[in-house]
Symmetry: C2
């Protein structure tokens, strides 16, 4: 049986050796949901960039530039961080440079992993099928919020641990915490998340529609994967 | 309403400013359960020491020396890390120097807090009564296991958040995760913990009796408090 572990915050990544692991990076609200949506709508590739200025500079190299800081679209960027923006026709065939408060930082922290893939509820079954078919041990890396853990990424981690319970053994207590939380919440994820810090923060930005969308399981079938610093499918 | 937050791992303490907070340090299996038991049996004071060699050196200064590394009593130490050892008559009036794998490291990480107290299920209501009576905001610091989170400390944090729900507002998602977990587990904490990594590790050391004892709520009434680096009541 392979091993599965969950890193609930990028600030704990020093505890997890990943050179021989598949790392699933998750930032449900909303980076990895946007990435999944973009690939479902024909984006060619996405280059995740942790640094805002570096991302901005990619505009001159012919990239569309996208992302957010503190939940808000950046001035001068082509797209923000709502998945609905990544359904537009100009996405098709595009190369996007993408930076977000937490998601792209988490991808950077996974550097050196055997393999890095992108997970969201939108492609949940594709991710779990992919992990089942691979011999690799697994680490789910939750992006959280500025180092702190959050409910929505923990819930997604729990959903993956739960789906793999016949084939992957929790290595530590974090996967168990996540799985228990998911089983408590799964009948109505949106209601469960209502009082979370992120939903409260995002509510001020008026995006309940985004949140409902980001909690929809299996809307898309594909697994974005990082290769030489660039995401593709 | 005051604020309550939970730091699930000492390795996340850089995210939590604590200079004006009461920090509750918790290491259920077994450092803070031992500390509580020792004070209930008349120990005079306990000096927590993160470093093993420094703790050893306290023997020559007239202290009883106590603690563990990786769950095992240290050669030459007077007491290990089972709460039952701290019920012996020679505890009464003693000064103990105490070091453990995670608990005393967590106390060290709380350095600089407005106030540092010791929590365990054994003194749960004393701790929550103390926190209710204070105007301070609260941080519960879980000792975890070598930086990783664990179930038992998270459950205790959830029990405190739950007991204070009328007077203290969660600041972030970690208190919510802990509270949900506690509400799932509270009808039978021992059964819930059976598959946790720590219980599995300790089972090899044959100490189910310790674990049952450490999960007993409100056996003792007192709140150990750190003052000038020394715990007293």
């Amino acid at each position: 049986m392979k091993a599965i572990d969950v890193c609930l915050s990028p600030d704990l990544m020093h505890l997890y050796p990943v050179q021989d692991r598949t790392v699933v990076v998750v930032d449900i609200l909303r980076a990895t949901s946007c990435i999944t949506t973009a690939f479902a709508h024909g984006v060619n590739r996405i280059t995740p960039i942790a640094n805002l200025e570096e991302c901005h500079a990619m505009k001159d190299k012919g990239y569309l530039i996208a992302g957010e800081r503190d939940g808000k679209k950046v001035v001068g960027f082509d797209f923000g961080n709502s998945p609905f923006e990544y359904m537009q026709p100009q996405i098709h065939g595009a190369h996007i440079a993408f930076t977000t408060t937490n998601g792209t930082q988490a991808i950077a922290k996974a550097n050196g992993a055997g393999e890095i893939i992108i997970g969201s509820f939108l492609n949940l079954s594709s991710v779990t099928d992919y992990l089942k078919a691979s011999a690799n041990n697994i680490l789910i890396l939750c992006a959280g919020w500025k180092g702190k853990i959050n409910l929505e990424d923990t819930l997604f981690a729990g959903a993956v641990v739960d789906a793999l319970s016949d084939v992957a053994q929790p290595e530590c207590d974090a996967p168990r915490v996540a799985q228990h939380l998911y089983n408590t919440a799964k009948s109505n994820l949106f209601d469960f998340l209502k009082d979370s810090s992120h939903v409260q923060r995002l509510s001020r930005l008026n995006i309940h529609e985004d949140i409902r969308f980001c909690l929809t399981p299996d809307k898309y079938s594909m697994v974005p994967k990082l290769s030489d610093g660039v995401l593709g499918v």
